[in-house]
Symmetry: C2
Subunit: 645 residues, 2 copies
């Protein structure tokens, strides 16, 4: 049998292998183990390498796009060596990044040209005041105002009683040298500046970080970015389950709880506890004190915003589904209950409807779809699924109650995407050496303790593709595998045996879990359909699909399409933007113009009330199957089923 030379450029190693050897085996021979989380089935894309000279025969190019293929990329587990080749093995993180349709966390970069003096509403100035004397008995407050007018051009200043109460002591402690933080109101060019005094500290403090925070209050997860407003950089990120979760997993149950005696106060206190805990965590990481945070910009769905602010949320739940307030005035931390600087500006971004809140207006802004030429479909999948269709010309939105399944909640072994969570999974087919056995990737490379959203989604897709469950989500009981078994709550699939797990218990996926996920994905897909239909378009006309949400960050498009969550279209139309809500809040925190654009988005976005749309229920029922009752809508999935079975 002919032998060929395989040179691994990156490792300066050469091996000789017989014709027909798989590239992945040649690499192993050369002492270069390639990552194969899917077990060498050519489905995860993780073993992609670049053949820089010579060529291989590829059995499958799944997960590679045409550009990749033209550059010589191939899946090592699917590549048969039939001649001499040179191979470059990209660093693993480069693969991760290249697989844009798999998972991409857009890095947080400071907006180009960020100039705190121009972009920010917040201004920090050092002031040197003339001390009072018997010849100049000007009162403290006028003295400070004069200094601000003369030294910073701020002619009109709002102030709270609380601030006035501290004024005298601060001025004297600083011996009439103080640093003031002002929140400058919108000013027309050439007009005098007006602002609100947010903070006053003795002495000169203009070279230290100036702390602000962007907060996304999700139904399930609350995320906080601690930002140095002086440089614009995100200095710490923290996120945590919303403590309200124990009082109801979705917004409706939260509203019901809040409408009971004392419930609203409890809900408010729970989410405040969560946010204040995140402030502690994030500040600790950068050795700051939460009391130094002087601005917080908050995005969240309308229910979360109402519960945070103690606004009655009952009307959100009951027809005709109206909120108390969509556009909130600027508040202070003390009013809201945030344990940061009591005078810190709290800017709650504007929402537009009961189920399209500021997380979506902020998300649309940070996704850029409001400026896009292309017809864009934007979705944010969290506990609810909100969908926006449009471009720079128009925007229409709707909301579908997806439930918290995709955030790992409401599922037997669901968990957040933290260490120990299975985030991706592949199941061997019936023809494999070990049929129906799973292979998975765990966050942090530790023994697994549960499944996060992307893991659950992958699992559902794999169970379906391998024929372990049928299109209705029912388990086939006749398969020769111990993994499908009768559990305490009906049939279930064992993802990991107790001995393999981090907590010593089996990790399972039950029929009930499947139903929860089916309902979640059906609600979202039905939303897409109804929204497109309402404007006389079909889903496949969308030129790009932008996916936000903490869940979207880790989503696997292929699998999302396979279960019928996402419409079946070329993968390169999908982009994953991570938590677009907190990003939008971050933009609004930094930039007055971004903040204005979010208001503009809120005012021009149309809201489609699905509950008032007769076609929604029908669309939902059709989407309760894997991938859909109408398989013709999912040609790539039809092909995959054929290949697999």
């Amino acid at each position: 049998m002919a032998e060929h030379t395989v040179t691994f450029d990156t490792h300066a190693t050469t091996v000789r292998v017989p014709t027909g050897t798989l590239l992945v085996d040649a690499a192993r021979l050369a002492g270069i183990p390639l990552s194969q989380p899917c077990g060498g089935q050519g489905r995860c894309g993780r073993c992609a390498v670049q053949v820089t000279s010579g060529s291989v025969r590829s059995r499958s190019t799944l997960r590679l796009n045409s550009e990749d293929i033209a550059s010589g990329y191939t899946l090592a587990c699917q590549s048969v060596i039939e001649g001499n080749i040179n191979v470059t093995i990209p660093p693993q993180d480069k693969i991760e990044r290249r697989l844009t349709t798999d998972r991409t966390v857009a890095e947080v970069t400071v907006p180009p040209g960020y100039d705190p003096g121009q972009s920010q509403t917040i201004r920090r100035v050092f002031l040197s005041l003339a001390p009072p004397s018997l010849d100049d008995q000007t009162d403290d407050w006028s003295r400070l105002q004069t200094a601000l007018r003369n030294q910073a051009g701020i002619s009109s200043l709002q102030v709270s009683l609380r601030m006035l109460q501290q004024l005298g002591a601060v001025l004297r402690e600083g011996e009439w040298q103080v640093t003031a933080v002002i929140d400058i109101a919108e000013a027309k060019p050439g007009q005098a500046l007006e602002g609100r005094l947010v903070a006053l500290t003795p002495g000169r403090h203009v070279d230290e970080p100036l702390w602000g925070a962007a907060v996304d209050i999700g139904t399930t997860t609350v995320t906080l970015w601690l930002v140095d407003l002086a440089s614009g950089t995100v200095r710490a990120q923290a996120s945590e389950y919303n403590q309200q979760i124990n009082r109801g997993e979705d917004v409706v149950s939260r509203i019901i709880y809040a409408s009971k005696n004392g419930g609203a106060a409890e809900m408010r206190s729970l989410v405040l506890g969560t946010i204040n805990g995140l402030f502690q965590t994030a500040c600790k990481r950068v050795k700051a004190n939460p009391a130094e945070v002087i601005k917080a910009t908050i995005a969240g769905n309308s229910t979360m915003t109402h519960l945070l602010l103690g606004l009655p949320a009952q009307s959100i739940r009951l027809a005709p589904f109206v909120t108390g307030v969509n556009q909130l005035p600027l508040l202070t931390a003390a009013e809201v209950g945030l344990e940061i600087h009591p005078e810190a500006t709290v800017d709650c971004l504007p929402g537009i409807a009961s189920y399209v809140g500021s997380d979506i207006t902020a998300g649309v802004y940070s996704s850029g779809m409001d400026d896009a030429e292309k017809l864009t479909l934007f979705m944010d999948v969290g506990t609810n699924g909100e969908i926006v269709l449009g471009s720079h010309e128009w925007l229409i939105s709707c909301a579908c109650s997806a439930g918290p399944a995709f955030e790992g909640a409401g599922v037997s072994d669901g968990m957040r995407a933290t260490s120990g969570a299975i985030e991706e999974i592949w199941i061997a087919g019936r023809e494999a050496a070990a049929p129906y056995e799973p292979n998975f990737r765990v966050i942090g490379n530790v023994p697994p303790v549960g499944l996060c959203g992307s893991g659950l989604l992958a699992l559902l897709a794999e169970l379906f593709l391998t024929g372990i469950i049928d299109k209705g989500g029912n388990f086939h009981t006749s398969l020769s595998t111990p993994r499908v078994r009768q559990g305490d709550h009906g049939l279930e699939y064992v993802v990991a045996w107790a001995k393999e797990t981090g907590h010593g218990r089996d990790i399972v996926f039950t029929r009930t879990d499947i139903d929860n996920l089916l309902r979640a994905k059906a609600a979202i897909y039905a939303g897409f359909s109804v929204l497109a239909t309402s404007v006389g378009l079909s889903l496949d006309m969308a030129e790009q699909v932008l996916i936000g949400g903490s869940f979207g960050k880790y989503i696997n498009v292929e699998k999302a399409v396979q279960i019928g969550l996402l419409p079946d279209m070329p993968w390169d139309r999908f982009s994953f933007l991570g938590n677009t809500s907190v990003k939008g809040a971050y933009n609004a925190l930094l930039d007055r113009e971004a903040r204005k654009k979010i208001t503009d988005i809120a005012s021009r976005m149309t809201y489609l009330e699905l509950s008032a749309d007769n076609s929604f229920y029908e669309s939902f029922m059709s989407a309760l199957f894997l991938p859909h009752t109408d398989l013709s809508r999912f040609p790539s999935v039809a092909l995959a089923i054929e290949n697999e079975r």
Copy 2:
């Protein structure tokens, strides 16, 4: 002996009396007892009658002005009948009012042309909103804003979180018919109206009173006027000792107390307790609930304002004597701690210096001196004495620490001017039938329990004029009267014996009391002198003297001049204006223009710091005598002494 006919027109009675009979005796004969509180010494003016035909020989016309005399007025106790006469006896209240230099309480009249729609910052509007539906899911807050824009022309509305929290319930309870109270900001003609939502109630409530309050916080006494802003009328008045009084009688001791640990909070709570009690009292009287009060305009000296608002007051007391804030922003009742509508606007009027507060700027406004052509001397005698000299062209002010003696505090048997207080007193001279015996008038015509400010002032003057004390305030011990005796604290004069009093204890006036009053009056007179000198004028150039303050309301000019408190000038130059501070607050509460003028007064009034003025101490020492070391400054007093002794 010749007899004459005396006809009392008012009583249709005639008597015949011999020549030389006193008119007062003729009246008694006719069964018409005339009031003679001074015991027939011709000094109180209370027995004034009008001789309409014929004439009498008047021994004295004290307390009658030339106009009175020309109209036939005469003092019945000083009029000798020498021919037939007709006499008209004016009703007692008419006498009281005619004796303008004795006591005048200016009645509170609504400013002419008061139009709440124009003058007021507060506007109340009934709104009918379209209920939400699936076709109109506008949020509650936008719905209300739209109604206000369309139905009341108010285009921009501030709102607190507290108000937003109640919004949904109020709108639904009123079935989308609500009454809104808005505090409208300053608007230029033709510009859109902007305001702040103060109150929102279900249903239509535009014909009910719209409650506001004017408050004067005196060091000793707090006064509150409850006003129906719809009509402008004062519907209830209430006043009470400032509860802080037990923690110090003057502002300096209050500041010292407040600077101790917890002292400021206690002071704040005490004055809030006082004001909130007055709101209860006043509201009860008109069957209103304090929670319905939606605006309060507050005047007070700078220390009172600082203590009320929890502002540090220490710098007021220590050189260079500066306040924390002279011009406060608009606050809300909740911030301040007033137990009225929590969103009620609290407008603290502007002061100008540590010892010239908003009680003076408000007082100057309500006195009209800021518009006067005449050179005017304005004084407000409360616990402090503040003095303003000027006219519509210029204003200069100073403050002298008078102490609370003139408010009845800090004096053995001092009390407020309420029922049981001796408010005026006359002492018989050494030649009288009952030498050195007093005659007094008691508020409410009940047995006396103490002396109020005007009573103390009269007592001091009478003791001096009758020679019971000398010009240094020392008792003459050689007089044949049991009234001057050795008491527990040195020599004292017994004003009323235990058996005559309401509480069964002697009412006395001690040497210490005399010293307190001397210091108080000396401080004020020295203030006049230094202020006039500072602008190169002499005191007698003042064309009018306007006297405000709760004490000033009941002051007796003659006696005030006799003790050297007021400068010796023709009585018709003096006007007594009552509590000018609360009146100014009332004007500012009603009228946006009045409020602006008070700001204008504050900005154009010069403040003279007496402690930085070398001549003050000398002036003060010279004024510590009765009436003054330089008797030539008090010619009328010199004459009275001569007459009396």
